[in-house]
């Protein structure tokens, strides 16, 4: 039986987020102090050894990313926290920032020390205005206590664009430009904010850092699946009894998340599908529920762990209708920079509307598959590449639902 394990949410409910003393009483800022005594390369090696992988969705090895920025030449480097938590159904970063802001600040400061950066930014989701004060309060408390060693952190609020969760669009937004992704390479660790070496990590990623330093890389690497160790915070929505959040090791299976932690489907209804990782996540059928939630296991079934949002549908749900709404979402949120996403998301929505309203044909389904395949490999950024996943996976796993709506 899988059990909850709290690393990033370790202080949830235990401390007053407005009081740095509470955080420090739990051992807070000791890891930063420890890091400051360490050789930078040894520090980065420690993070590498923990095998912590980014919790934002791409799953890149965190220590490796830091080492790129560390080695990149230049005096001016930046640490950016991606707190633009825009995936519908996801609120894990809010939980961390709302309840334990110092763990984020400590994680960022450790990163700043490691790569040689004096300036951090927290790019905060525009819909989280209530967190600005909490974060600023925490930053000034840490500064007042002289804990940050000259490392500055500024909170920047987003303006509601989903695409700004993409790291280079986020960087453009901080720079004051339209929130649009850049092509890569160059990657942010070599040319990021103002074209300087920049680390962009998710809130959850940073929140892991102090604990890894406190308890050691080996300890961390031993938790969950070895290729994607540690824990992951999940937020449950949809047709599920426990619409809540929890943090579990990465070897937990989807089935355990839904039926054990989630308490199963309300009423006597049967499970139909689950979408994991946010709006661009794949829809997973019953047959694949024993997959562990770890990054590579999910990739293997054509899904993505993404943000950790878990959206459950019971048997009464019209999955074609749900997918149509998702297609509309992506048409709305495409930034418009690259042609296949700009035009493709709109066409996908148009075709889904046609099928959903009973006016579609097999030809439309085939066209959506072709379009989806092209978008997933040819779009400029992750938004366009991932946008067709719900369409493609529902066509694959729930063909009967589509067929039932065709002309």
């Amino acid at each position: 039986m899988a059990e909850e394990m709290r690393i990033v949410l370790r202080n949830y409910g235990k401390i007053n987020p407005l009081k740095i003393e509470d955080y420090m009483a739990q051992g807070g800022y000791k890891s930063l102090e420890k890091a400051g005594r360490m050789d930078k390369e040894a520090l980065i090696d420690e993070i590498k050894k923990s095998n912590l992988r980014g919790r934002g969705g791409a799953g890149f090895n965190c220590g490796q990313k830091w080492s790129f920025a560390y080695r990149a030449p230049g005096d001016e480097k930046y640490v950016v926290c991606n707190a633009d938590e825009g995936e519908p159904g996801t609120y894990k970063d809010r939980l961390i920032m709302e309840n334990d802001p110092h763990t984020l600040i400590e994680g960022m400061a450790i990163c700043g020390y490691a790569i040689g950066s004096k300036q951090g930014f927290i790019y905060l989701r525009g819909e989280y205005p209530q967190l600005i004060n909490i974060l600023n309060n925490a930053i000034s408390q840490a500064k007042a206590k002289g804990l940050l060693q000259g490392f500055e952190i500024e909170v920047r609020s987003g303006a509601g664009a989903y695409v700004c969760g993409e790291e280079t669009a986020l960087i453009e937004s901080i720079e004051g430009n339209r929130g649009e992704p850049r092509f890569k390479p160059p990657y942010p660790p070599s040319e990021g904010l103002w074209m300087k070496p920049t680390i962009v990590n998710n809130v959850e990623t940073f929140a892991n850092i102090p604990v890894i330093l406190e308890k050691g890389a080996e300890w961390y690497a031993g938790i969950g699946v070895s290729s994607y160790p540690g824990t992951k915070v999940f937020t449950l929505t949809g047709d599920i009894n426990n619409k809540t959040f929890f943090e579990v090791p990465t070897d937990t299976t989807i089935r355990e998340i839904i039926f054990q932690f989630g308490g199963g489907i309300p009423g006597d209804k049967k499970f139909k599908a689950v979408q994991i990782g946010g709006t661009s996540g794949a829809f997973i059928p019953e047959s694949l529920l024993d997959t562990p939630v770890a990054f590579d296991d999910m990739s293997a079934i054509g899904a993505a762990l993404g943000s950790g949002a878990v959206f459950v549908l019971d048997e009464s749900r019209d999955i074609v209708d749900v997918t149509t709404r998702i297609a509309k979402f992506f048409e709305h949120e495409s930034c418009g920079k690259c042609a296949p996403c700009r035009e493709g998301t709109a066409r996908m929505h148009e075709l889904m509307e046609s099928v959903n309203s009973g006016n579609g044909s097999m030809k439309d389904i085939a066209l959506m598959q072709k379009l989806g395949n092209v978008m997933s490999i040819a779009c400029l950024c992750g938004l366009g590449q991932a946008a067709p996943a719900p369409v493609l996976t529902t066509i694959k796993h729930f063909a009967a639902d589509y067929n039932a709506k065709l002309m």
Binding site: G336, C338, P340, R342, E343, K370, L371, I377, Q385
Partner: protein, 574 residues
């Protein structure tokens, strides 16, 4: 060097090269749409995607740097399906209006649709129905045709530092729009037309006015007179299937007579005249402590720029009208007197490499002759269309020379068409006027070429005159900021709004690469070398003009007909 293979062909290219550059080396053509060789890489159209072994995604060849051992495939079924689907998507959002389009036959999207034989587009055609913008007399915008490659924005903001074009809205609703919320006329647009060259399709073009010419030619009461700007000859051949520079002037003139112009004269005549007026103005300012540095005033895009962005420096502008407008005021006064023609009958047409000239001719102050001085401005491209429509075979055309009294010109006028040419022409004359000595080597090489900012120092009998030359408005801005800060070391500054000068003007044959501008520049200096007379003050018809009509440079008549004043455009938001 980095070694890779493209479609099985081994290639070595310098580190930092892109797949697109490497492919070019080995003759593998990768299609592009948003890519522009003289601009920053955008990678937004995704038409150039290709397969790289070991990479799930298809990277854009224009942006993907090569790596050692990389195996690139540009023709796999996956690549072809991606490119065709992307083209289908773009085309399904683009008016199927090729037959009526200004860029029919010269359109990058049309070429791609042809190369990838897009036939039955599976996506439903959806045209947005956006409003066309005909607010300026020079340039129109047809936003429905825009493919959002953003090359126009780059040209306007990076090359010209004008920032008249920007993006609005998001996703499928995103649009290139004039900045500041209104039409193009309300934006800081200077009408240089560099966006027209940058546009791969027909979303931006010159305001076409050939019909007005045809009506004038058809009108028995009108005498249609034309002037040809210095930069036109070098490029007009490109419009009728010749190489750059290959159209001989006399054949060009013969062609113009064939299409119905009654008299063919030359802006070069007033270019020479400009040198006398402007050269003397400079000497006067130097002698009497006038405002310095003095700026040239031939380029109407530059005048718009100065009036928009540097209204505090309008006193630095030479008061000389541009050669086009000097011509306009003289043709309906001096020339009609000389010819015994009623100026009311004259329909004065200028053939220009320039879109901003259309605006210049429409300025209300340009009526010194008592009429509108220049009735119609046609671009090189429009004349090209007229020639093609008229079916003229230039190989078989008997050469013809210019009409008298305003048709003679020198090599100094010819080089007005290239950046540095006005300066060089002025130096040829000013040197002789000041020193009283004959200038043996008339070639001032230092003023030539496409380099953004050039400078030189000339010794005029012990007086050292420092001059600077800029082409392209972001280069001009460097010199202007210096002047504004009171730190400019120069006495005389030549500015041409367009990169390379008028040979790269907004009305020239669609110019996709700067290399074409360089070719035209070379042709201009060959033409100069071939002129018997190469100093403006030695132009015999200009001498006659002064003897019989103007009497002296900067004199009373000159002041009336050849000089003008400028206006603060008062764009407060800038």
């Amino acid at each position: 060097m980095v070694n890779l293979t493209i479609d099985g062909i081994k290639v070595s290219v310098p580190e930092g090269s892109t797949i697109l550059q490497a492919a070019k080396e080995v003759g593998v053509k990768i299609p592009t749409l948003c890519y522009h060789p003289d601009q920053a890489v955008k990678a937004n159209c995704r038409v150039c995607v290709c397969e790289v072994e070991g990479n799930r995604l298809l990277p854009a060849a224009c942006a993907q740097p090569v790596m050692e051992g990389m195996v690139v495939k540009t023709r796999t079924p996956k690549v072809i399906e991606a490119r065709r689907t992307i083209l289908e998507l773009i085309l399904a959002h683009h008016p199927q209006d090729c037959l009526n389009c200004i860029r029919n036959g010269n359109c990058e999207l049309q070429d791609l649709a042809n190369e990838y034989f897009i036939r039955d587009n599976p996506f439903t055609l959806k045209v947005r129905g956006l409003k066309k913008d005909y607010s300026t007399p020079s340039i129109f915008r047809d936003p429905d045709k825009c493919v959002l490659c953003r090359r126009c924005i780059d040209a306007c903001s990076v090359v010209q530092s004008v920032n008249a074009l920007g993006l609005e809205s998001r996703g499928v609703n995103s649009m290139v729009v004039p900045t500041m919320g209104g039409d193009l006329m309300d934006s800081p647009c200077v009408m240089c037309g560099q966006c027209v060259h940058a546009c791969p399709v027909g979303a931006i073009g010159e305001v076409e006015e050939i019909d007005k010419l045809l009506a004038a030619i058809a009108d028995p009461d009108k005498i249609v007179v034309t002037q040809i700007a210095p930069a036109v000859r070098t490029a007009i051949g490109e419009e009728v299937g010749m190489k750059t520079g290959d159209m001989p002037m006399e054949v060009f003139v013969a062609g113009l007579r064939q299409v119905g112009f009654d008299h063919v004269l030359h802006t070069n005549f007033t270019a020479d005249l400009t040198i006398l007026e402007e050269g003397n103005e400079l000497l006067k300012r130097l002698k009497e402590g006038g405002t310095l540095p003095m700026f040239t005033s031939c380029s109407p895009g530059w005048i718009n720029f100065c009036e928009t962005f540097y209204p505090d420096l309008l006193d630095n502008l030479s008061t000389c009208k541009s050669p086009q407008q000097m011509f306009g005021s003289l043709v309906k006064t001096y020339w009609t007197d000389k010819m015994g023609i009623d100026p009311a009958k004259i329909y004065s047409v200028s053939i220009m490499p320039c879109t901003a000239k259309k605006f210049e001719a429409s300025r209300p102050e340009m009526n010194a002759s008592g009429y509108r001085d220049v009735d119609l401005v046609l671009t090189t491209r429009e004349i090209g269309r007229l020639f093609r429509m008229s079916g003229i075979d230039f190989d078989k055309l008997a050469p013809s020379s210019f009409d008298s009294w305003m048709g003679a010109y020198t090599g100094a006028a010819v080089i007005f068409g290239a950046s540095g040419g006005v300066m060089e022409a002025a130096l040829r004359t000013v040197y002789e006027v000041v020193t009283g000595q004959t200038l043996e080597n008339v070639n001032f090489e230092v003023t030539r070429g496409i380099t953004g900012v050039k400078e030189a120092e000339v010794d005029l009998s012990g007086t050292k005159v420092k001059v600077a030359i800029a082409n392209g408005l972001s280069n001009a801005r460097q010199l202007m900021d210096q002047v504004r800060a009171g730190e400019s070391p120069y006495h005389f500054i030549e500015i041409m709004a367009c990169p390379g000068g008028c040979i790269g003007g907004g009305g020239q044959p669609i110019t996709k690469v700067n290399a074409k501008r360089v070719e035209r520049i070379e042709s201009i200096y060959v033409e100069d070398e071939n002129c018997a007379i190469r100093k403006s003050h030695e132009n015999p018809e200009v001498k006659t003009l002064y003897d019989e009509f103007l009497h002296e440079p900067l004199g009373h008549k000159s002041h009336e007909l050849l000089h003008t004043h400028y206006h603060d455009k008062n764009k407060k938001y800038l």
